[in-house]
């Protein structure tokens, strides 16, 4: 084969590759957004995300700027959703509160997934003592009710954003470990891993080349569906007064704060709660879409 035709072949192969990638992407998005509700969820999420990012440009107020002249004001042109008992603008605090929810939610999920995947793979791949040890600890961790565990951990690690993310992560680690372990075992017993082993491939080779890529997508789906749950947990913690340190605005603590003024300005409590619900619903919708796109078995179902 002369160089010219070879170059032409390489070029056409590259084109094919590009096209395959494009097709795969198209199929993915088509499956993901096959249901209208996923599109709605995604739009909702993008709006909340943008609002959180551009919070300073969307409001003239500072989130913790108190105004003694406008305490417990009802909604008006000046204060879209009124003010709280310190005269802080509710709308502004909502925007900044979204940042807290999103950052803690995403951070906690990533942390939990990284730890969970690593432990789960170790448990499945090395079996024996490592497996027993990891799984027993996970079982114990899983037996402590989540909220109890989080509360106890808050008492130890405090209320900063970082520690809250760690605390919320610890509570969900066992789910990742269990799923990763099961998936790893399945992949480990598959014929393609056997084929590699029969050629003399080592553990690291198989882990990196076969196991990791194959356990990633279910984990991604689970991560996506866990973000919502984690945001709910964070809101619950801050509602109970053990979340992020006051006066940093957080939706959960805002609801709690409004309890005393339900008759004066019910919006202080109502709106943040709705915000939590809407954000979690949107995230769950995206999660469902992602599951549809990544699991061909479920397409057309549910």
């Amino acid at each position: 084969m002369d160089t010219k035709t070879k170059a032409a072949m390489d070029q056409s192969r590259k084109d094919v590759k590009k096209q395959m990638k494009k097709q795969a992407r198209k199929r993915f998005f088509k499956a993901m957004f096959a249901r209208r509700i996923v599109i709605v969820g995604t739009i909702g999420f993008v709006i909340i995300l943008l609002a959180a990012i551009f919070a300073p440009f969307l409001t003239p107020y500072e989130p913790d700027a108190m105004n003694e002249n406008a305490q417990l004001a009802l909604p008006s042109a000046e204060h879209l959703l009124g003010t709280d008992n310190f005269g802080r603008d509710i709308f502004t605090r909502l925007l900044y509160g979204a940042r807290i929810s999103l950052i803690i939610g995403v951070l906690a999920v990533i942390l939990a997934a990284v730890i969970g995947i690593a432990l789960g793979m170790c448990a499945a791949y090395f079996s024996g003592i490592a497996d027993i040890l990891i799984m027993r600890i996970m079982e114990a961790l899983n037996s402590i009710p989540n909220l109890m565990l989080s509360l106890a951990l808050v008492a130890v690690f405090g209320h900063s954003m970082g520690s809250l993310a760690v605390i919320l992560a610890i509570a969900t680690v066992p789910t990742y470990v269990r799923m990763t372990r099961a998936m790893t075992l399945r992949v480990k017993n598959s014929d393609y891993v056997k084929a590699a082993q029969m050629q003399g491939a080592g553990s690291i080779f198989i882990m990196v080349r076969h196991i990791l890529p194959n356990i990633m997508s279910p984990n991604l789906v689970m991560m996506m569906s866990n973000v919502g749950g984690t945001i709910l947990s964070e809101a619950s913690l801050s509602f109970l007064g053990v979340g992020i340190t006051i006066p940093t605005p957080s939706w959960g603590s805002m609801v709690s704060q409004g309890r005393g003024y339900l008759l004066d300005n019910p919006y202080i409590s109502i709106v943040p709660g709705i915000c939590v619900a809407v954000l979690v619903i949107c995230l769950n919708m995206i999660g469902d879409g992602l599951r549809d796109a990544m699991d061909p078995r479920l397409s057309g179902e549910a």
């Binding site: 909220l147 109890m148 619900a277 769950n284």
Partner: protein, 320 residues
């Protein structure tokens, strides 16, 4: 079966042991000088300080304090609460029944309703009734419990004054009418999330069953829809629901924590909050431990239920 239970109890002992380790060393890491917490005030003389210091065995290593704690635990001594100035066990004896009562009532409502809605939804898949049930369940599943509580309170107590917002009491003390009035909102609040969860999970469990080959076999026998649904579908669909039931039961002491907080119900959840806020270490340890033991028992109960609903387990080697 008996042997199997024994084995599961054995496993539970291991888990609880690991949990005691986790709890003790975790709570032991709580920052700050616990001598002041234990004393309940800051103005201690050196003498008083030293006395408490030794009483708490703070001069000994963490490991030996763990051993002492464990020994006390085994003899039924859960410690002495810094805040309430009473043995923790006495406190728990008062609080646990309230929480259990609230949670059981909520489960009594949420399990049958959830399974019912889930089954209807699965049988009528992709029909309007399914869409509506699924949508409502999905939304309810995302509503924060504390927010539902406050909204109920806003509507029923503040706007209309139909129900009291706080002040739970046992019928013996406050009479039945008052008791029922105080319990309605908390129970609804806990049950709503439960119904939503059970609906979603029963639906997917039933859908999984519907596409099994034996359902087709049952239809090919000429059985009526009702017979296929009741004898074959629901019976098999219940098996995974047992697991969900188990995980709900496991949270029976902690699941109502937020609601107790919203409606000021003096249960374990409220006690937990108080203990955390006051760094009442013996109480925290006891609460975490008790709720874990209850969770473990719930898991064992799940396994027993499993054996009852699924003959495959007791027949399989793993169960004997």
């Amino acid at each position: 079966m008996g042997k199997y239970l024994l084995k599961r109890l054995g496993q539970m002992v291991i888990v609880v042991f690991v949990v005691t380790l986790l709890t003790f060393f975790l709570v032991d890491m709580v920052p700050g000088d616990i001598v002041y917490n234990a004393a309940g005030r800051d103005d201690l003389t050196q003498e008083e300080y030293d006395q408490i210091y030794y009483e708490l065995n703070l001069d000994k290593s963490t490991a030996s304090r763990y051993v002492i704690w464990l020994k006390n635990l085994l003899s039924g001594n859960l410690g002495y609460s810094y805040v309430y100035r009473r043995p923790v066990w006495d406190m728990l004896k008062e609080k646990i029944p309230t929480t259990l009562y609230l949670s059981f009532l909520a489960m009594l409502i949420s399990v049958p309703l959830g399974v019912l809605f889930g089954s209807i939804s699965a049988i009528r898949r992709k029909k309007p009734s399914d869409t509506i049930i699924t949508l409502i369940a999905n939304i309810c599943n995302c509503l924060p419990q504390f927010w539902i509580g406050i909204m109920l309170m806003l509507f029923f107590s503040f706007r209309h004054n139909w129900l009291p917002s706080v002040g739970f009491g046992w019928p013996a003390r406050v009479g039945w009418e008052r008791h029922i009035k105080t319990i309605i909102m908390p129970v609804i609040c806990v049950a709503l999330g439960g119904i939503a969860g059970f609906t979603r999970q029963s639906r997917s469990a039933m859908l999984e069953v519907i596409r099994q080959d034996y359902i087709r076999t049952a239809r090919s026998k000429g059985l009526s829809n009702a017979a296929v649904n009741m004898k074959h579908m629901v019976r098999n669909g219940l098996i995974p629901i047992v697991t969900i039931l188990g995980s709900r039961l496991a949270r029976i002491l902690s699941g109502s924590m937020i609601v107790e907080n919203v409606f000021s119900i003096p249960g374990m959840g409220l006690m937990a909050m108080t203990s955390i806020n006051n760094k009442d270490i013996p109480a925290i340890q006891a609460i975490v431990l008790i709720s874990t033991i209850v969770a473990c028992l719930a898991f064992i109960l799940t396994d027993v239920l499993y054996v009852l609903v699924d003959p495959r387990i007791s027949l399989d080697g793993s169960a004997d």
